[in-house]
């Protein structure tokens, strides 16, 4: 070993420059010639960068005379119909069949030092499920029926790096590797199917989505190519469709993918970016919430809700003054609230993290709950605290009963906290656990209703 951790951090920039930075590439003249041989786009042909919206909207429009009386009568009829439908829908029971909707809280699962643990959040009893000194187990997720959990395990000494998917019972017994061959690069994000018989994973470069039989007996299937699955992608109430994304040329679309027919319904198209953001089904499957950059506010990220049948237009949920980021939206199990992470840009252009926000669907109000990650670290020190930034955010998810949120450290190992979703009070859990860099799938066991 020639590089220590401290030296590595100190010398990385210089090492990278040493490795990669060279003189001006020899292809310089050729690529410049190829590039400038193209015709430039006239400035007016690049909407969003050039055309001021005010100019567009103030331009006189020539249109035929509008029959206002007819339109008015039609609007009144539509309003009456909508009110009637809303009244009818409001009086219907909204109970969802398992594994969707609220459930009793079971065990929590997480990794610490690269081993998988489960913890009874009520009693604080911790059980270690794996003990692998040479590899770092990661991303344990419970099956929706709570009977098993799956996690990723690196294949020791694999070059290139590869991982297996291991399924065990909640006590760590009966481990089964469900993939037939090591997965080069490792799978991205494990998701159990609604019936708890299969595990879905996306290839690291979003090239494919695979379905693994949880018993390891049925060969792996490629469900789709050229796309990726979002967190908890199986559509309620029957898991018959997947929420997927497809990206190309710095744009992405959010799509409902019918597992039986392969039919794709675009729910939101031409969103900026590669689709690294979040999108989730509502617990009843009727809507999808996602984060995206609005066209009229290109420096921000906002939450939108769209109908999952592909009709209607997305509606923006939260608008805070200033340049902000509302991201990682997560529905409460009963669908009445959406928790999300927030950042705000200050006058000096620095970004600051805000407490987790909860949006109430019924009245559109937003409240903050819980502390900031740095406050948790200050009050509950851990050995890796200095590795986390001042602006660290949480990775979080709702408890199965919907009464609380569990918020994990996202940048360095630390203590997770449980936040009361109603009054915002919180307490830290004892274990120092590995960071969860991304919003997570089912880390909290469901125990039925």
């Amino acid at each position: 070993m020639t590089v220590t951790n401290a030296r590595f951090d100190r010398e990385l920039p210089a090492l990278l420059e040493d490795l990669y930075l060279g003189p001006t590439p020899s292809y310089r003249d050729e690529v410049l010639a190829v590039a400038t041989h193209r015709r430039q786009r006239p400035a007016w042909a690049i909407p969003g960068r050039w055309l001021p919206m005010a100019d567009i909207t103030s331009r006189t429009a020539f249109a035929p005379r509008v029959p206002w009386r007819t339109v008015g009568v039609a609007l009144v009829i539509v309003a009456v119909l909508i009110a009637a439908i809303a009244l009818y829908a409001g009086t219907r029971p909204t109970k969802l069949p398992p594994p969707f909707g609220p459930a009793r809280n079971g065990l929590l699962t997480y990794t610490a030092g690269g081993d998988v643990y489960v913890e009874d959040a009520a009693s604080g009893t911790v059980t270690r499920l794996t003990n692998t000194p040479h590899v770092l187990d990661a991303e344990p997720v419970f099956a929706p029926n709570g009977t098993r959990l799956a996690y990723r395990r690196p294949v020791e000494d694999s070059v290139p790096f590869a991982e297996d998917i291991v399924v065990v019972k909640p006590d760590g017994s009966d481990p089964v590797v469900v993939n037939q061959a090591p997965i080069v690069g490792g799978p991205k994000r494990l998701e159990w199917s609604a019936d708890s018989t299969s595990i879905l994973a996306t290839e690291q470069n979003d090239a494919a989505v695979w379905m693994f039989d949880a018993s390891g007996k049925i060969p792996t299937r490629t469900i789709l190519t050229g796309g990726f699955a979002y967190v908890r992608p199986f559509r309620p109430p029957n898991g018959g469709a997947l929420l997927i994304g497809r990206a190309a040329h710095d744009k992405h679309s959010i799509i409902s993918f019918d597992l039986a027919t392969g039919r794709e319904t675009i729910l939101a198209a031409d969103l900026p970016g590669d689709g690294s953001g979040a999108a989730r089904w509502s617990p009843d499957g009727s809507e999808v919430v996602y984060d995206a950059t609005p066209i009229d506010d290109p420096d921000s990220l906002r939450l939108f809700v769209v109908r999952s049948d592909g009709t209607g237009t997305p509606r923006k949920l939260v608008t805070a003054p200033g340049i902000g980021v509302d991201g990682d939206p997560t529905w409460s199990p009963d669908g009445s609230q959406i928790a999300f992470m927030r950042y705000q840009q200050q006058m000096d252009l620095s970004w600051v993290v805000r407490p987790i926000g909860i949006y109430t669907m019924a009245d559109g109000t937003v409240r903050s709950v819980g502390p900031l990650p740095r406050d948790v670290r200050n009050r509950n020190p851990g050995p890796d605290d200095k590795a986390a930034s001042y602006g660290e955010g949480f990775a979080f998810e709702w408890s199965p009963d919907g009464h609380s949120l569990i918020a994990y450290p996202s940048e360095a190992s630390g203590h997770a906290i449980l936040i009361d979703a109603l009054d915002g009070t919180w307490h830290a859990l004892d274990p120092v656990m590995d960071p969860k860099g991304f919003p997570y799938a089912q880390g909290w066991q469901r125990l039925g209703e």
Partner: protein, 187 residues
């Protein structure tokens, strides 16, 4: 001639002004592209694609002072697009040592470079993009986040994950240098 004037001239179709603008950045763009894609030929393709887009869309660039950041962003996105397109054929190439330091611990420095190179191999392109933008293109994390259209927290998390994974690889690596693997295969 300052950058604003050069951008203005290039926006009006001046090839030489565009070349003058791009020249100082080209070595770093190529370096970032090679770091992300791990393939010199693909890196060249990505840089070319970025320059084509830059030339084509330059008339629409509203703020000339943002030219360099814009070019960085185009290059990284071109790299990620290429990485997605080639998907199942990760190709590893051996990088020639460049400007090797003439110090007494030359062998150790070479070993360090090999270890870092091997560690980068284990990261996916998305994480390598964050490393390249932050360390090679000197972009602050909020700018990295904006370029990749991800929340700042996610950019931080990706960087943290990448560094942690690299540290693990580097400190766990045996003395012998890793063997380049031609043409990997996704399971």
């Amino acid at each position: 001639m300052d950058q604003r004037e050069l951008v203005g001239r290039a926006q009006r179709g001046d090839h030489d002004a565009f070349a003058t603008l791009v020249d100082p950045a080209l070595a770093r763009l190529d370096a970032a592209a090679r770091l992300i894609l791990r393939d010199a030929e693909l890196a060249r393709d990505a840089v070319q694609e970025a320059l084509i887009r830059a030339w084509r869309d330059l008339p629409g660039l509203r703020d000339p002072d943002r030219f360099e950041a814009w070019l960085h962003r185009l290059t990284v996105n071109a790299c990620l697009d290429l990485a997605r397109r080639r998907r199942r054929r990760p190709i590893e190439v051996e990088l020639d040592p460049i400007d090797s330091p003439a110090t007494s611990d030359h062998a150790a420095a070479l070993a360090d470079r090999e270890l870092v190179n091997g560690a980068l191999l284990r990261l996916d392109p998305g994480h390598r993009a964050v490393v390249a933008m932050h360390y090679l293109l000197d972009m602050p994390l909020p700018e990295v986040a904006a370029a990749l259209r991800i929340p700042p927290g996610t950019a931080k998390s990706r960087l943290h994950y990448a560094l942690a994974a690299m540290r693990r690889s580097v400190t766990a690596e045996p003395e012998t240098a890793p063997t380049p693997v031609p043409g990997g295969q996704v399971a």
